[in-house]
Subunit: 136 residues, 3 copies
């Protein structure tokens, strides 16, 4: 099995934001020359995450962030963390800090409407994304 | 490392539904002849997901769907997506589109009460599940 | 590819609790003598989960559990499961039962503030954690 690991950075512009990183992940897969296997996309931050969802209609990420904000409000009576970003930590654990996608013929095997998103929950910040391609 | 990939389809009958796909995944693992490794179960859709939870008492999936509906309502003031299924996209990102399970002696190494579920959030529809078994 | 699998147990003390298991996972990675690859941390229970989040300030896990409790209340009109722990099953599916972390130079490649947590949602109980290290 061959393992190729790369990373890139993402600049987020607002407190909550979903940024489509599909083409950046696809480039790393292409350069890896791995035909069959999978790729793991990993976020090394605790107030952000990685998800896979629709990347065609921009209203979808907007609505996902809105629904998450409704489910986990920015301020909640009882929060103890002094930084005031407890909701962002919780959203990070809800969304998760990694996703994996199969690789076939050196390409991402995503569904028709699927794209890979970096999810910012406590921006704006400069963030890292680590990508590991594994296979043969 | 050997990689075996198969897929199957699932017909969902209602808007929100959890369908136990454990035996179908177990069959693919069995046919793969892989003894040690893992299996990734992947949903290529953006309004559905994959989860692992109790598959003995049917009231568990019922209650999980109810609690998710309470946390992420079908209609929310501010939703912009024209299809009216923004809640389903959000639930898909909350539950996640894949799960992985270890394989030992060519069998799924699930906990006593664990089963693998396809989660429909915008049905009824015909859906696909992609399964990749990896190991030796 | 080499595969090393171990498990350990965790004793939880309250109904909802996040227990930092980073050092226990790191020990298993160290003993595996695998330098490059990844580790999967898996919870074989249906009312608990695994997450990665900040393990420096103890108020972070406290606030994550509080926000989850707010989003998914212990008791909800309409719950049918007789055990009265439907919220715990739902939280398990929201948080997920596994996480994966890359390994570099025989060490966990976590972000600066990241730790691995076992999440109890229906304790106190004795629980198991299964760890699989894969790579070369």
């Amino acid at each position: 099995m061959k393992i190729v690991q790369k990373e890139f950075s993402v600049s987020t512009k607002s407190r909550s934001q979903m940024i489509d990183i599909t083409s950046r992940v696809a480039s790393i897969v292409g350069e890896s020359a791995i035909n069959d296997g999978d790729v793991i996309v990993y976020c090394p931050h605790t107030t952000a995450g990685i998800t896979i969802n629709e990347n065609v209609d921009r209203s979808v990420p907007h609505d996902i962030l809105l629904a998450l904000e409704e489910a986990v409000p920015h301020h909640l009576s009882g929060f103890q963390h002094f930084e005031g970003n407890s909701d962002a930590h919780c959203k990070s654990s809800i969304i998760g800090c990694s996703e994996q996608v199969f690789i076939k013929n050196n390409s991402l095997q995503l569904g028709t409407w699927q794209g890979i998103f970096f999810c910012e929950f406590d921006g704006p910040r400069s963030r890292r994304v680590i990508v590991q391609v594994r296979g043969q």
